[in-house]
């Protein structure tokens, strides 16, 4: 009800203020508005300044090959909450250009780079339109519908060669090492000489010198990573240092890139479920949740009550396990080598045991299905969850609190480090604990409730300083709020079925688009799915919170000591499986 009221006022506001610029998207199953590229900036400026859509959640694109156009899709929200607004702008596949939104929403920077890299959408006015996930000598834009991988077998799974006359072959026998990459036509890897990396140039261009330089120092460029324990995986920060102070920083990523989205577009809808586990592999239940919601929106099914409760229980346990890990490993980054991390792991193990009993796997849970979950939670496992939630976890979270919160070393290393103001956090599309630590009480569970989150009584954790310490405090409080939700869910969980309808291995998904988003442990996790009625998604895009949170990394680290960059990165809490996808 509330939702509809709000969206109707949005419609009115949009039609009165922007009627000349926007047209409604009337394709069946689609929603939102279309805008011509030449009107985009003007419309978006009005959206942000007059209608309050100050948060750009997602930027992506769809290649409509048959209509010969690339469509850029934007999802806007208000940082005060409520439902969103979808805007689309098309250009031709060959030479089309779309104006970049970076001057209005700096948070579009990495997302537009990604759309350029993977789809080949040229964003005019983008300050730094380089490839971001693929390497610089890569040929083509892999998410275009006419791009084929060297291993290409068929457009869509299931492949015909597997049944009824399947004879096992390894793909590397068909495409041996060396043939498993495509190069641009005039490219010879034998004679190719690496050019100086463009990232170094960018570092020099974007340098922000220190205000008062008493001593003349040389600039040096330091690579942190890709192989470095402090980067939490294969991630690289190139930093320009003035003495020990960072004057410019550029993240380099994509070392773990496998084009999750292309794989997903070859998969059937159901086959994607286990692949979402591998995004943020510390929070597979949350990933399942987001994807299930997006596809359920398209299919128009609602899970039964018990399934909704089970989903919430799993998602909140995931949040606790992820936050407790982050807290433990943040202390690793601070130099408290592994004692706090091990205390955190101990609690996480107990939660993973529950996942294993319920779903069969500790981390790759693959537990959600469209319209419910795979199987019911047995009563004894529910009992174990109760025991954890009422006794063990509160005790252990308190212990962590008393162990770390007032520790003077933690305080001096964390307070005032990596500051992001509320205005910056919104502008950079930061999400999750980063956004809330900067004083923006935005939590999708509250701002735009999904599933049954509107039934629970909980507070949105928020702090005001926007530094590393406040991010730690937000995570701590969020774990306690999760326990609160868990206690209510465990009290109210009804009996009954856990799946709407019969289990189906081939679901029918009507044509249309949907954006499902959940509040994952790392922030707003969104899935943009386009179906054309076939068994495979036509377009599948992940709004990866840890990837987008990195957009503001340079701002957070600017003029900090290089040792603190490690701590700031630890507080952002990235998971490379999700950053690189």
């Amino acid at each position: 009800m509330n939702d509809r009221l709000l969206s109707s006022t949005v419609d009115e506001a949009v039609s009165s203020r922007l009627s000349g610029l926007l047209t409604e998207d009337t394709r069946p199953g689609y929603s939102g508005y279309l805008v011509a590229p030449e009107n985009l900036l003007e419309a978006v400026q009005i959206l942000r300044d007059e209608l309050g859509f100050d948060y750009l959640s997602s930027v992506t694109g769809v290649d409509y090959l048959e209509e010969d156009r690339l469509e850029t899709v934007y999802h806007f929200y208000r940082s005060t909450g409520g439902s969103g607004l979808v805007l689309k702008s098309s250009c031709s596949r060959e030479n089309g250009r779309i104006p970049s939104l970076t001057p209005i929403y700096p948070g579009a920077e990495f997302q537009e780079r990604e759309a350029w890299d993977l789809l080949g959408i040229r964003f005019e006015g983008h300050p730094d339109l380089r490839r971001i996930l693929m390497w610089e000598g890569f040929d083509g834009h892999p998410l275009r519908k006419d791009w084929r991988e060297p291993y290409f077998e068929e457009e869509a799974k299931p492949f015909k060669s597997r049944w009824p006359d399947g004879k096992a072959v390894r793909s590397e026998e068909k495409t041996p090492f060396g043939d498993n990459v495509c190069f641009p036509p005039d490219f010879d890897p034998q004679t190719w000489q690496a050019e100086p990396e463009t990232v170094i140039e960018r570092l020099q261009q974007d340098e922000k010198p220190l205000a008062d330089e008493e001593i003349q120092t040389d600039r040096i460029v330091v690579n942190l990573g890709p192989q470095h324990p402090s980067t939490h995986g294969v991630f690289r920060m190139t930093v320009m240092l003035d003495g020990e102070t960072i004057v410019s920083l550029k993240p380099v990523m994509g070392y773990l890139h496998r084009n999750h989205e292309k794989i997903a577009e070859r998969n059937t809808f159901l086959q994607n479920m286990p692949f979402t586990d591998r995004l943020d592999y510390l929070a597979s239940m949350s990933n399942n949740f987001g994807y299930a919601i997006a596809v359920e929106k398209l299919m128009g099914v609602t899970p039964p009550e018990r399934a909704e409760y089970i989903r919430v229980i799993m998602a909140e346990l995931t949040r606790i396990s992820s936050h407790i890990m982050t807290t433990g490993f943040l202390l690793n980054d601070l130099g408290a080598f592994f004692t706090p991390a091990l205390y955190a792991l101990e609690e996480r193990e107990l939660i993973l045991d529950i996942f294993e009993m319920v779903s069969g796997s500790r981390m790759m849970c693959n537990y959600f299905r469209f319209g419910g979950v795979v199987r019911d939670i047995p009563e004894d496992v529910l009992g174990r969850i109760r025991q954890l939630v009422t006794d063990r976890l509160p005790r252990k979270i308190d212990e962590l609190d008393s162990y770390l919160t007032n520790n003077e070393i933690v305080k001096t290393r964390c307070q005032g480090v990596g500051v992001l103001t509320d205005v910056q956090a919104i502008a950079y599309s930061a999400a999750g604990p980063i956004l809330r630590a900067s004083g923006v009480p935005y939590d999708v569970r509250r701002a735009d409730p999904y599933s049954i989150y509107d039934r629970f009584d909980f507070d949105v954790a928020v702090q005001t300083h926007g530094d590393v310490y406040d991010r730690y405090l937000v995570r701590l409080q969020e774990m306690r709020e999760s326990l609160k939700i868990l206690r209510q869910a465990l009290r109210d969980i009804p009996g009954g079925p856990v799946l709407a309808g019969k289990p189906q291995y081939q679901v029918r998904v009507p044509a249309g688009e949907a954006y499902g988003r959940v509040e994952g442990p790392k922030g707003e996790l969104g899935f943009y799915v386009v179906s054309n009625g076939k068994p495979n998604p036509y377009r599948y895009h992940v709004r990866a919170p840890s990837f987008i949170n990195l957009t503001s990394l340079e701002t957070m680290c600017m003029h900090q000591k290089v040792a603190d960059a490690v701590v700031v990165l630890g507080s952002v809490d990235i998971i490379l499986g999700e950053v690189d996808r």
Binding site: K157, P158, F159, S161, R162, W163, P164, D165, G166, K167, A168, R170, N267, T268, L270, Q271, N272, M273, P274, F275, T339, Y343, E346, E349, L350, D353, E356, M357, V358, S359, G360, S361, M364, N366, V374, R375, R384, Q387, L388, D391, R392, E399, S402, Y403, L404, T405, N406, N407, E408, I409, V410, K411, P503, Y505, Q506
Partner: protein, 202 residues
């Protein structure tokens, strides 16, 4: 007072350390190298050390645990292995990384398909242990195994499993997944009874 937080934090670690030894002293032998000790160290009541001395000690896995798929066979009248699989191909179609390869048997005379696989192969290098094959097989013919110790030196010669490596008896299945097995058996008996009743009345 500055430094209080650090002292307090050190107190927490010290308590952890002392409790580890205290729990060891209190429980002694009962804590290690026996199933009760392992279960205790994995439970929410645990105090002190919670790690397991693999491979001397092994964690018990819950029934739902899944690793690689296997094919279930029932014993035939002459003791031969009768695979439950009808080579319907559903598992090969649902498998996300497409690592199941099935050749259907055809009757050499009529050329019609026979409901049993001639060849069934799973490339376990590619299997992502998702369990979808077991979940959607309509004949309870493929199930997820609990055995996770499959390390080897050479993947090229060993890691495409054929029927010989995949087949496990229904008895084995009952042993690792007693609850699932019992409920499937119950369903099967009910179905058969209903069929018999229909045949009787019709």
């Amino acid at each position: 007072m500055s430094g209080k937080g650090i002292v307090h934090g050190l107190g927490v670690t010290l308590r952890h350390l002392l409790r580890t030894y205290w729990d060891d002293l209190k429980k002694g032998r009962r804590r290690y190298f026996n199933p009760e000790g392992i279960a205790y160290r994995q439970s929410p009541e645990v105090d002190g050390i919670f790690t397991v001395q693999y491979p001397e000690e092994k964690l018990p896995v819950p029934e739902e645990f899944r690793y690689l798929p296997f094919l279930v066979y029932d014993p035939g009248p002459a003791g031969e292995k009768v695979l439950r699989c009808t080579s319907c191909g559903i598992c090969a179609k649902v498998c996300p990384p497409q690592c199941i390869w099935i050749t259907r048997t055809t009757d050499p005379e009529t050329g019609k398909p026979v409901p049993t696989p001639a060849e069934f192969a799973i490339d376990i290098d590619i299997c992502m242990n998702c369990g979808l094959c077991a979940e959607y097989c309509p004949f309870d013919a493929i199930k997820m195994d609990h055995d996770y110790e499959i390390a080897g030196y050479d993947r090229m010669t060993t890691n495409i499993y054929t029927i010989e490596q995949l087949a496990r008896s229904a008895d084995y299945y009952r042993k690792i997944r007693p609850n699932a097995f019992a409920s499937e058996e119950k369903d099967r008996l009910e179905r058969e009874a209903a069929k018999a009743a229909r045949a009787g009345t019709g």
